[in-house]
């Protein structure tokens, strides 16, 4: 394609290209089931990582905002390590290095582990930030009322912190879905991987990755809107209080 384009002036190429484009378009439409399979892969990986990441991130965040200094530092250091390296490198480490210490992993579980770990670290920071933003008077009042530390967290701190946590949390889910495209690098069949495989047979990158982009857009755009509207609604509540 490349040499062809440089040998001929663009005008001379155009009628043939238009013809090819329609052929490629029908070819692409025939591979649509394949794309749906990839879409399912993306949804499965991000869904599983979202659940695991939120759960682990919640626990890590609560510890990070607690008074146990050593635990706090350990989690902080781990979060920094994860935030300081690209996700691609992390996934290579999980996929290629864990087998060397005797943990044999398929591509799919490796992807889920790496992605859950990444999102847990980001969610941990969001949750810790939300908890620490609650004025200490609230906790003192709860202690004075005789609530146990679990009750304080459950009935006083978390319900208030949720207002601060929810909008960035949904934003984090969008990032997670987008980051899941990177797992295609180790051969997990997701939308990006399907696009990469298809473009080898249908040499029309704009069309193929345009379709890939549309599929991601359909999932991510509503979530971004949700995050924005949550932010607006929840700040209104804050000013009213």
């Amino acid at each position: 394609m490349d040499s062809e384009a440089s040998d001929f002036p663009r005008g001379a190429l155009r009628p043939r290209r238009k013809n090819m484009l329609s052929i490629h378009f029908t070819q692409l439409m025939q591979t649509l089931p394949f794309f749906l399979k990839g879409l399912w892969g993306t949804i499965a990986i991000s869904g599983l990582s979202l659940l695991a990441g939120t759960l682990v991130g919640l626990i890590m965040g609560i510890i990070r905002a607690s008074r146990y200094k050593i635990l706090r530092m350990v989690i902080g250091a781990w979060v920094d390590l994860i935030r300081g390296t690209p996700f691609l490198v992390q996934i290579f480490i999980v996929f290629f290095i864990l087998p060397e210490v005797g943990i044999q992993l398929e591509a799919f579980p490796a992807a889920v582990i790496a992605l859950s770990n990444l999102s847990a670290c980001f969610i941990c920071e969001i949750i810790a930030g939300g908890i620490l933003a609650i004025p200490s008077g609230q906790r003192e009042a709860a202690t004075a009322s005789g609530l146990s530390s679990y009750q304080q967290l459950r009935y006083v701190i978390l319900p208030q912190a949720l207002r601060l946590i929810l909008p960035p949390l949904v934003g984090q889910y969008v990032l997670l879905i987008k980051d899941s495209s990177v797992v295609s690098a180790i051969g997990v069949l997701d939308v990006t991987r399907v696009g990469w495989l298809t473009v080898q047979r249908v040499p029309e990158g704009l069309l193929v990755f345009g379709l890939v982009g549309v599929l991601y857009f359909v999932i991510c755009y509503p979530l971004i809107q949700l995050s924005n509207s949550l932010e607006k609604r929840l700040t209104v509540v804050t000013t009213r209080l």
Binding site: T85, F87, V89, F92, I93, F96, A185, P203, Y221, I224
Partner: protein, 222 residues
């Protein structure tokens, strides 16, 4: 694993890593400069009074923010040649980084501009300040305080995202790890060394970010 960890091989590959570190730095540096320019232009278009211009910038920003960088990278990498635009891998990579980060920067800048209440500008107008004076003394000093921390955060994201360029076979840090894995079959040594280099840059950038934040707070207090 650790008892067989081969430091000699890492030493042998260190010149390659050094070269790749410089490549990562210049690729993300070029992307950052481009993204700032694109971000300023897209932000100006987004807040323009013309509906059409604002809508156009909105479509650009939203479509970038709703799709992964990797898909955008492949879109340009496989798409531009089929349009008859030959581009080197490096140029494609920098283009993708630029357009991707540009959209996020536009949003950050827009939030900064909109954080300044219109009353401030009205007050400056009624004090008889010209447009440039208003910008220089009223708007920008306040906007910088709001936008600089997230801009630096975006710069860190951009530099980490540059790892994806290894997937279109550009020589940079992650690629060095891949090369070491395929030539010597030593993924542990290769990718952990890569990670260490990324961490080094990350801590430097984080330090800069923390320092500016402290300075900003200090200035506000003054």
């Amino acid at each position: 694993m650790l008892e067989t960890f081969n430091f000699r091989v890492i030493l042998e590959y260190l010149p390659l890593y050094w070269k790749c570190l410089l490549a990562t730095l210049w690729l993300s540096g070029a992307g950052l400069l481009g993204a700032l320019v694109v971000g300023v232009v897209a932000c100006a278009m987004r807040i323009s009074r013309s509906k059409l211009v604002s809508k156009g910038a909105g479509i650009y920003i939203e479509s970038i923010r709703s799709t992964p960088l990797l898909a955008q990278l492949y879109f340009f990498y496989f798409g531009l040649p089929s349009l008859g635009i030959p581009m080197s891998e490096e140029a494609t990579g920098v283009l993708a980084l630029t357009l991707n980060s540009g959209a996020y920067m536009a949003e950050i800048l827009r939030a900064g501009v909109q954080s300044i209440s219109y009353g401030q500008i009205e007050a400056a107008m009624s004090s008889g300040l010209s447009y440039l004076q208003r910008m220089r003394h009223i708007v920008l000093p306040q906007a910088v305080g709001v936008t600089l921390p997230p801009l630096l955060g975006q710069a860190i994201v951009l530099f980490k995202d540059s790892a994806l360029l290894s997937l279109i076979s550009i020589m940079e840090l992650t690629r060095a790890g891949q090369i070491m894995t395929s030539e010597r079959f030593m993924p542990a040594e290769g990718f952990l060394t890569t990670a260490v280099f990324y961490l080094l840059i990350y801590y430097v950038l984080k330090g800069i970010s923390g320092w500016t934040q402290k300075r900003l707070i200090f200035r506000e207090a003054r």
